[in-house]
Subunit: 306 residues, 2 copies
């Protein structure tokens, strides 16, 4: 049974794609929305994303599902605004990339009778804003739900069904494990990509135009994720501090071991390490989470020309 009314608080890429996805799925759902700036609200109206309100409370009133789609650091403030108008029996969720700190900040503000089921869609592109959204964003992607102990199983199941209707797969885990898994698969990779791009940008002995010209040799793959929204990522690192620092520690340890092998000329160590990492790539392609097309099929022929 679909939600009759879904409120999207925050109207960036993620919320916009939810709205497009609801329409594509043909759900009998009224979508309402709110964004902080008038410019974004205008853009959302122009894109036809739903009933756009000038206040968060206006958008959230009477909704059966409210999804907080603002940066992690802004969630508590917006939650305080909408808490008084939330309908008893409604489900409250979010799309934050960190779950422990969102639960700590938002959880205490959730009114009695409202089901709080935090969530995180593992989907996105390097583009931001309502115009960047599209219906297929969630196809075959994972949504992780982290309901606190004692959550209503029906509310969790209903939210799961909603995401399935948008094309996504759903996994349930506890918030702490989520934050560790994401530190490995997303947060530390992003930090490292940002760092590498920053180093290249800073290096006076190699010009920026050289870095850009020769980026296809590997660097380019880092720049895509280093182009992600700065506010969102600042909040991720401030809010998943512990797991990020934990995994960063492991990363620098391994990096130093490889650095030492280079310094000592230990080719066997390097070769063994580089061979082992190939297998995990194979697994990702087999799991349908990437394409085997060479070079991601960036505009080159994927098949040998004859």
């Amino acid at each position: 049974m679909a939600y009759a009314r879904v409120a999207l608080i925050g109207l960036g890429l993620i919320a916009s794609s939810i709205s497009h996805g609801i329409r594509r799925a043909g759900l009998p759902t009224v979508v309402t929305g709110y964004a902080r700036t008038e410019a974004t609200r205008e853009e959302a109206r122009r894109l036809g994303l739903g009933e756009i309100h000038d206040t968060a409370a206006g958008a959230a009133r009477d909704a059966d599902l409210v999804i907080l789609c603002v940066p992690v650091g802004a969630m508590a403030a917006v939650m305080a605004e909408i808490a008084p108008v939330l309908k008893p029996g409604a489900t409250l969720s979010d799309v934050g990339s960190v779950k422990g700190s969102v639960i700590a900040a938002v959880g205490p503000l959730v009114p009695e009778g409202v089901h709080f089921v935090p969530g995180h869609p593992l989907a996105g592109t390097e583009h931001s804003g309502p115009s960047a959204g599209f219906a297929a964003l969630y196809d075959n992607r994972w949504i992780i739900l982290t309901p606190p102990a004692g959550s209503d199983p029906n509310a969790v199941a209903e939210l799961e069904g909603f995401w399935n209707a948008l094309g996504a797969n759903v996994e349930v885990m506890d918030a702490e494990h989520h934050d560790l898994v994401l530190a490995v698969t997303s947060h530390v990779p992003h930090l490292i990509a940002y760092t590498m791009v920053g180093v290249a940008d800073d290096l006076s002995r190699v010009t920026e135009s050289e870095v850009i010209k020769y980026s296809a040799a590997g660097f380019r793959d880092f720049t895509r994720i280093a182009a992600s929204d700065p506010t969102m990522w600042r909040d991720v690192f401030l809010n998943n501090k512990e797991a990020t620092l934990d995994i960063l520690g492991r990363f620098t340890e391994e990096l130093f071991a490889l650095q030492r092998a280079i310094r000592l000329g230990d080719g066997a160590h390097l070769h063994a390490y580089f061979t082992r990492t190939r297998a995990i790539r194979r697994g990702i392609i087999d799991a349908g989470q990437d394409t085997a097309a060479p070079d991601f099929g960036r505009g080159v022929s994927p098949v040998p020309a004859e």
Copy 2:
């Protein structure tokens, strides 16, 4: 004026793509080739890559252009084999990712009268072997040539024309600068990607199946370059030791500064850093070295659904 006879010593992705590219360009050129293993030679024959010989000297004899397409660590040995048969006036080039050490190892073996013009095509995919090659690999990619001081300008210009015919752009610079530029744009990014994938693979608290399932959140972008050929990359790091360690030092310095900002909760530092790195991405797309399609257009609709 095209080379009448081009010998490809080593028949992996790079050499195979050169052969396909020569055919696509309609050059009046006989291609000969040699690979170390009978299996690769067989594969190359099946793909019709050219006259495949059982010895490197057989392939190189009478060639007007000989391109060494073996890993950097194997170049000196193969060069010793072909040196006696090289035709006076012929051009000798290579495709090694490191230039200083190749020049040091191969240069002294080049016979009088043979033009040595080292080269490095900044192109490739994560796949290896003759079957992975395709004609469009070099389209709009850069080839860096690093002729030693005193090289014959006609030989350099002729090689430049050859690569242009295959769709590539050519830049000439000195070997030392090449090795630094590549350390930034390719070698250190690869090392970091390998490290991150290794860390994820090792972490007992997060299963490999979780890493694979949730890889779309950023990690996936690292696995493509961490799936590159292990022998080639071992040789790159052993042969571009100095520049790699130099850039790695800068990288860890920056990473520690960001780590410290996370530990201290310095959001302003993080936000400023993440904003700066966005601009360089824009430059890469504008330069035609990547596509702005979200998510590299990995099988999702690149336009908002209406």
